[in-house]
């Protein structure tokens, strides 16, 4: 299995508080992604990174920010958590795009905003 670790695995937080989720990889892959999974929506891309300090928005980026200061770490921050951000969050990594885009996923972080 690809070396991807998400932390924490579960978190309950209050509305309005900031929350940071961490994704750590040991594969030295260039691309890292954050997705959220919700019933009826499948997996939706929040943000992604194509290198250190190189990030871009996905389709559901509002209310989220990311940072990648090292190849191995990709942080997702909910600036002020809302109940609509209750979800399961997945980090993924891939060596490249196109035919090198067979991404590997972490185990997920279940976030509940109360």
């Amino acid at each position: 299995d690809a070396g991807i670790t998400q932390s924490p695995r579960h978190k309950v937080t209050e509305t309005g508080t900031p929350v940071t989720l961490r994704c750590h990889q040991t594969e030295n892959h260039r691309y890292m992604y954050w997705y959220r999974q919700d019933p009826g929506h499948g997996l939706r891309l929040i943000h992604y990174s194509y290198g250190v300090k190189d990030t871009d928005k996905g389709e559901v980026s509002d209310g989220y920010s990311v940072s990648r200061s090292k190849t191995e770490d990709f942080l997702l921050t909910l600036e002020s958590a809302t109940s609509s951000q209750t979800s399961v969050y997945f980090c993924a990594i891939s060596p490249g795009a196109g035919e090198e885009n067979e991404a590997f996923f972490g185990q997920g972080t279940r976030l509940t905003v109360v």
Partner: protein, 109 residues
């Protein structure tokens, strides 16, 4: 932008029979598609891929077919096994991975 759509949210198949999961896409340019499988409380895992220069790709019990004129791909699982019960996602991998909404497959004895 590419969109991939999985119009069947669920599928129930008897063990030993064929499971066919479908996915439609909108972009007609060169593309690369992936199928992922997801069990509850786990991350998705890569299953099989196909490039738009091919019509078919096979890996054991799993075969993916690409119909470019209909902009349609399908995943065939033969024979289906209870352990195949999971949610299956198709994804467009031309740029960032864009996923469909998934199809929940249940294989019953």
């Amino acid at each position: 932008d590419q969109q991939v759509k999985q119009n069947s949210p669920s599928l129930s198949v008897q063990e030993g029979r064929i499971s066919i999961l479908n996915c439609d896409y909108t972009n007609s340019m060169f593309d690369y598609f992936l199928w992922y499988k997801k069990y509850p409380a786990e991350g998705p895992t890569f299953l099989i891929s196909i490039s738009s220069i091919k019509d078919k790709n096979e890996d054991g019990r799993f075969t993916v077919f690409l119909n470019k004129s209909a902009k349609h791909l399908s995943l065939h699982i033969v024979p289906s096994q209870p352990g195949d019960s999971a949610v299956y996602f198709c994804a467009d991998a031309r740029g960032t991975l864009i996923f469909g909404t998934g199809t929940r497959l249940q294989v019953f004895p």
